[in-house]
């Protein structure tokens, strides 16, 4: 187990290196750059722009900039935002919880509803429920998230007036209830696709397990169907789901990013789009590294969780 951990962490570091190189190169492919935001400002002259470029170190060769950035990162210095001069980690941390709130609530919705639909579909294979779940999941997977958000706003905010059109809270009314009220629409929008994904995977995992010999053994023992489902099927079917949860994280992040733009949610997604718009390299790179670390860490945690649950790995 420690050997396995060490190996995974080393692999992760290599992955991070790859991610950072890809990110840095792609980012610097963008013409323009962080100073473009002043291009229209009548009072900033080319001389000022040249001065700033030099001060920010943007006139150095790309590899020097990368090495400098990477070296600082290794020392724990994520750099400072070009836009507000704040340390990148602090900038990210300030947007973190809004995103986590959204991702968390939608994940809870997605996992609980998705798992329920998936198990029910598998145990009622071929039923109307199964069929409806299959069709529903595929349609849900086909709806563009941002469009679903727009339609949601149109129906529930503009027409019915039940739910707010955006934002995380009403200024002056920052009660838990108020937050929840604002959370409903975006988290449902974000959850939609993932309910579909979870239900599909849960269904096939459950079916896989149900076809295994040990389920037959359990039946031959005279166990009740309920016990077979709860003790033998669900446990084994959830095992690959843990891994899936890790793998799904980037897509949840992407979804959160899109959802945040539609619902003007002050999270990392919006920070990302804004920073990209301003070519705030340190923040964009920071966000990339952060999300990559998040993804890698969650995969690692998923693997460890699987290892802890699965005696074949835990004790091997």
């Amino acid at each position: 187990m420690p050997g396995f951990l060490l190996k995974r962490i080393l692999q992760s570091l290599v992955l991070l290196l790859i991610v950072s190189v890809i990110g840095f190169v792609v980012l610097n492919l963008l013409p323009g750059g962080p100073l473009a935001q002043f291009g229209l400002d009548s009072s900033i002259t080319q001389a000022d722009l040249d001065r700033l470029r030099e001060q920010l170190g943007l006139n150095r060769p790309l590899y020097v900039q990368y090495l400098d950035w990477a070296w600082r990162l290794l020392q724990g210095d994520w750099g400072h935002s070009f836009r507000d001069g704040a340390p990148v980690l602090e900038v990210i941390a300030r947007h973190l919880w809004a995103t986590f709130l959204l991702m968390g609530s939608s994940t809870i919705i997605a996992v609980s509803i998705g798992a329920w639909i998936g198990i029910r579909s598998a145990t009622h294979r071929g039923s109307t429920f199964d069929y409806a779940a299959t069709v529903g999941a595929m349609i849900a997977l086909s709806i563009p998230t941002f469009w679903f958000g727009l339609v949601g706003i149109y129906v529930f905010s503009l027409k019915l007036g039940w739910l707010p059109a955006g934002n995380m809270y009403t200024i002056g009314d920052e009660t838990v209830l108020d937050y929840l009220h604002h959370l409903i629409l975006p988290s449902i929008v974000l959850a939609l696709v993932h309910v579909a994904i979870w239900s599909r995977y849960m269904r096939s995992a459950t079916l896989d397990v149900m076809n295994q010999d040990f389920v037959k053994t359990a039946r031959a023992k005279g166990l009740s169907e309920r016990r077979i489902l709860m003790k033998h099927v669900v446990g084994n079917a959830l095992l690959p789901m843990v891994t899936l949860a890790g793998i799904q994280l980037p897509s949840v992040l992407t979804g959160a990013l899109v959802t945040e733009t539609v619902f003007t949610w002050p999270g990392m997604g919006r920070l990302f789009l804004d920073s990209l718009g301003y070519s705030d390299y340190p923040v964009v790179m920071g966000l990339l590294m952060f999300s990559a670390i998040l993804v890698i860490a969650s995969n690692l945690i998923a693997d460890i969780a699987v290892a802890l649950i699965d005696p074949r790995i835990r004790l091997a």
Partner: protein
Amino acid sequence: MTSATLSQPIRERWWRSRTTRRFITNKLAMFGLGMIVLLVLACILAPHLLPYGSLDIDLRARFAPPFTGYHFFGTDPLGRDVAARLFEAGRISLAVGFSAMLLSTIIGTLVGVIAGYRGGWIGSVLMRTVDGFLSFPSIFLVLALAAALQPSAMMITIVIAATSWMEVARIVDAEVRSLREREFVQAGRMLGLSGAHIMFREILPNALGPIIVAATLTVARAILMEAYISFLGYGIQPPLPSWGNMLNGAQQYLGSAPWLAIIPGAAITIAVASFNFIGDGLRDAFDVRSDGH
């Protein structure tokens, strides 16, 4: 020697194969196929049949709601016919979806086959690169690339392909890895066939099922991706309509002209769902374990 006479088996043609039969008996898949055929036909024919061109600006007829005169889907902020634009856009969106699928499938298949068959450090490097790409929120790569390149239908296609080949690569890699251990591949080596021959002539045809399924789903994803990119303004540039950029301006008029958002969004959903139905049908058809519907 014992006689081992060949019991005359019926020659199987592909259209009579079990896979085909499973597929055509899959109602959803056939529905999806039907929708795609209809959509493609509509996109080809509608611009010739509708009374308005997709670029005819008429500032006096702005924001006409659906079914105003011959504007069946209404008009947009420049008074252009939404129906004409929708089907014109369909050409672009579907073309982008298809070409992106082709491109990413080719890239993904190449990478996957080589990584899966060669294994070792080549495989590791290739698949770690795939992992690297997959560790980003894909929208980042897409946006950054789209922003870096001059937007055009071809560039968008390349951008989408460049960011969606990893899925195919993973599927092919896994498939090839398992096929590599099959005895017929060992037999190929035993016969002294070259690596390239074994990879592309012996193994690849056996991985076609999953590749076709992945490709179908990639079309769906590519259409969605084009919509995202164009929605965010980095994609297909006006006046060329695409489903995504039709939605782009629509958010602003959600209250006053909701059809501008609803119609192209519905078109995207229908097209993507149809491809998903087909992909799912194909998956069921290729998967010997499943019973289909």
